[in-house]
């Protein structure tokens, strides 16, 4: 009954206030969340947390279906976006990969033409981790000293090749003037276990992927690649909290912020009212208790970007990646 009343009211209002009607676009069938990662991966968890925040708080009452299109490091998701333009029932979840992947590989989608940015909901900081027992490294100075003594012998693990992790590793090499060997694994957690088992010396990782190893004493965070220390002061391990971990600049490694945005996209040419609707919806999701708990657990940085602000961020972030890729000789067509 109330539902009918609301619909009737909305109907009347749509005549009275055409501008307000834009905000009244409502999905009336299931919405698909496409995650650019396999089940259990970071982006998959991100999409599913948003799903749970929306459905638990009844922010979105039509069913939400999460699908995974992880092929080609997630490129499959954005190619899929290209094949469904104007569709207001598909949201695409990723990281900076949406605009960084085409820099290195020949892909059939163009991020500026085939995707509509909605929002970045949270940022994952990166940390430098070592196994204190097997490597004997206790801090950034020790790490740099050991790398200088053994050029090319220090093994740093990360997720996949020519993406965020390897990029960050090359930044460390350039900043510290050392030569490291990068070893790509399928996922960040796999690299973390290799460090914990003492098979490789270090890895770069989001805090969430290594926090359990830290508690178990087989991994130790050296520094965080951020402009300021993380805020959380809850003691985690060794009597230390995230806040006690120095920034890399403080610790003597001159690399400023290197956070990974968790982004949401729509296909090209979607109705503007649908875009407005999802922009609002996702902002609400980011404020829901489920999402806040997720961000806190992963020691993520809670910052929401939408609209022009998000577009400006994308432009600047893509340019900085293009610059780093150019330096590493990874840009497509320049190999």
């Amino acid at each position: 009954m109330t539902k009918h009343a609301t619909t009737a009211l909305a109907f009347c209002l749509s005549f009275a206030l055409p501008a307000a009607a834009f905000a009244d676009w409502q999905p009336n069938r299931p919405v698909e969340f496409v995650a650019a990662a396999g089940p259990g991966g970071g982006t998959d968890t991100f999409a599913r947390v948003v799903q749970s925040a929306l459905s638990k708080n009844e922010l979105l009452t039509t069913p939400i279906i999460v699908t995974n299109k992880a092929g080609g490091s997630g490129a499959e998701t954005f190619v899929y976006a290209k094949t469904s333009p104007k569709d207001p029932y598909k949201l695409f979840f990723g990281t900076q990969d949406a605009y960084v992947l085409p820099l290195a590989s020949k892909l059939s989608y163009d991020p500026s033409k085939d995707l509509t940015p909605i929002a970045a909901l949270v940022f994952d900081p990166f940390m430098l981790w070592v196994n204190p027992k097997s490597s004997g490294i206790e801090d950034v100075k020790g790490f740099i000293a050991k790398a200088k003594e053994n050029p090319g012998k220090l093994k740093v693990g990360g997720a996949k090749a020519k993406e965020a992790d390897e990029t960050l590793m090359t930044l460390i090499e350039q900043a510290a003037g050392v030569d490291l060997t990068y070893i790509p694994f399928k996922s960040g957690s796999e690299a973390a276990i290799q460090v914990a088992g003492g098979h490789i010396e270090a890895n770069v990782n989001n805090p969430a992927e290594s926090v359990e190893q830290w508690k178990a004493g087989v991994q130790k965070p050296l520094c965080v690649f951020e402009d300021a220390r993380l805020a959380d002061k809850t003691v985690i391990a060794d009597g230390k909290s995230w806040n006690d971990i120095p920034t890399c600049v403080e610790a003597g490694l001159d690399i400023k912020s290197f956070a990974q945005p968790r982004t949401v996209w729509m296909a090209a040419n979607v109705p503007p009212e649908a875009l407005a609707y999802y922009t609002q919806l996702l902002q609400k999701a980011a404020a829901a208790p489920e999402f806040v708990a997720y961000a806190e657990r992963g020691a993520q940085i809670r910052k929401v970007l939408v609209g022009e602000e998000f577009k400006a961020f994308i432009a600047q972030h893509e340019a900085s990646y293009r610059d780093m890729y150019k330096r590493n000789g990874w840009l497509r067509g320049e190999k």
Binding site: V66, G71, S105, K162, G197, V218
Partner: protein, 504 residues
């Protein structure tokens, strides 16, 4: 005996009416997704995941794991009845299960598969109960070189044990490796063998290949042989089920060997699919009736099924203790764990004992419930075979096509499955074995990654594969398995040579 006390506490958590009901529902749902090829356990579990957001974590994981058990059992059903593996890990079950069903013994084949699978699963859970603390430590010792050694053993046992021509085995395996390299390469970040098809960038799904090679390929053969389906003569005798279950303990040697292989492959990164193949290959080698494998031999069903399920159970342990999923399904469950607010890792056992031990206790009960339920469905499934081929044939085609589409909702995959169907037919006609192709496709890219990671770690020195006791033992065993047929052949020739010499 601390583990035992905690297990009892776990039973107190799992043994409520509410949880038992959840287990039954989970197993039934799992059976459905397991029977449909392409849908499979990983997809099924991820479809169910949103439902669990409002449940408490222990009920949620019981639901998901019960569904997993159900799907593992369901996967064997279509393998046996139609030669279409519902799950990647039940491919090896087709080798003897399908011939046995074709001879009109579908009930026996299904009962054998289910009861040995149940025994395998329970062995796996017992291993988890006893060794949970130790396994996490042990799994940490696996670096890239050790990973490669595990895969190498699986390949070696297959080349060494294959019937038929070793060269044909090798050719099939190489083709499998080639198919596994399609898509984005982990180590270099480049796409390979995609020919600029967007559809190929994610690689060729193993399930598509299996649906085509086995399901459609077999269908083509059956059609050529004259549209006959021997299953028609199948007698439906309920007592067969009980007789078969009672028959299982006779194969204790196969059961023990397969369960050991399964647990080993589940704890190390091999996973259930590799475990079932390896167990089948070793079964053929070491069983007294090994020569009859492939013609509907009971041990040819028991070996892969037992290993598959013990590996499936054991694969949950690395997921809980290290946050490294041992199979696609446990990867989905791990995602669930994180959404419910639990972090898998070495500390989970101490911070969440109720959750961990409740889960382990539910694995005992979930598997027992699953065995009872699937045995009850045997007559129903066997009845399907009574339908004439003109009905069953088109039905299989539809199931295959839908299955190929469901894997990733790509229409391209349907064409790919049809292509693999033709390839499967050609393979069979020319007497090239399919199993090595499938094995190489499943493990090929993982083995390649591990090999190249190990080489990067050692700066290109192969000595890393013999750098410690663990990896040397595994590589040594692998090489021994690889050379075993050559050694036996040589020994045989020397012996017969000696005979000739004596005769002369």
């Amino acid at each position: 005996m601390g583990n035992f006390g905690q297990l009892m506490d776990g039973f107190a958590v799992a043994l409520t009416a509410h949880h038992v009901l959840i287990m039954i529902v989970g197993v039934l749902l799992g059976l459905v997704v397991g029977v449909l090829p392409g849908l499979g356990a990983p997809n099924g579990v991820s479809l169910l995941l949103p439902l669990t957001f409002t449940m408490d974590p222990i009920s949620a994981i019981i639901l998901l794991t019960s569904m997993y058990w159900g799907a593992l059992f369901g996967g064997s059903t279509t393998s046996i009845l139609f030669n279409i593996p519902g799950e990647p890990s039940s491919v090896a079950t087709t080798f003897d299960g399908y011939p046995m069903a074709k001879q009109g013994q579908a009930v026996r084949a299904l009962s054998l598969a289910f009861s040995s699978a149940g025994i395998g699963a329970l062995t796996g859970v017992i291993v988890i109960t006893l060794l949970s603390g130790w396994v996490a430590q042990f799994a940490m010792r696996f670096g890239a070189a050790e990973y490669f050694a595990v895969y190498f053993m699986a390949f070696a046992s297959f080349i060494g044990m294959a019937g038929g021509s070793p060269f044909k085995t090798l050719v099939a395996m190489m083709l499998g490796f080639a198919a596994a390299t399609v898509g984005m390469d982990t180590i270099s970040g480049e796409s390979r063998l995609t020919f600029e098809f967007d559809e190929l960038i994610g690689g060729i799904s193993f399930l598509i290949a299996v649906i085509g090679l086995f399901g459609l390929g077999e269908l083509l053969l059956t059609m050529e042989e004259g549209l006959k389906f021997e299953g028609v003569k199948a007698k439906l005798d309920l007592r067969t089920i009980f007789r078969t279950v009672a028959e299982v303990p006779r194969y204790w040697a196969t059961l023990v060997r397969s369960a050991l292989i399964g647990c080993w492959m589940g704890i190390t990164p091999g996973g259930p699919t590799a475990a079932s193949f390896m167990s089948y290959a070793l079964g053929r080698r070491f069983s007294r009736r090994g020569r009859h494998f492939g013609k509907g031999e009971p041990e040819g069903i028991i070996a892969p099924e037992t290993a598959d399920h013990s590996a499936g159970s054991c694969a949950l342990l690395p997921m809980l203790a290290l946050g490294i999923p041992g199979s696609a399904t446990s990867a989905v469950m791990m995602g669930g764990l994180m959404i419910w607010g639990l972090s898998p890792g070495p500390m989970l056992f101490t911070t969440q004992p109720d959750f961990v031990w409740g889960l382990i206790a539910s694995m005992y009960m979930g598997n027992i419930i699953a065995v009872v339920l699937v045995l009850a469905t045997v007559p129903l499934f066997a009845y399907i075979l009574k339908a004439p081929f003109t009905v069953v044939g088109p039905m299989i085609t539809v199931v295959c096509v839908i299955g190929a589409y469901t894997v990733a909702s790509h229409t391209f995959d349907i064409w790919l499955a049809l292509l693999f169907g033709l390839a499967g037919y050609v393979f069979k006609k020319l007497d090239y074995p399919l199993a090595p192709f499938v094995l190489a496709m499943v493990l090929g890219d993982k083995a390649e990654d591990a090999f190249r990671q190990a080489m990067l770690t050692s700066d290109g020195s192969p000595a890393i594969f013999f750098s410690n006791g663990l990896v040397s033992t595994m590589m040594g065993l692998g090489i021994f398995l690889l050379l075993l047929p050559a050694i036996t052949a040589l020994a045989g020739r020397i012996r017969s040579g000696a005979h000739k010499a004596e005769a002369a």
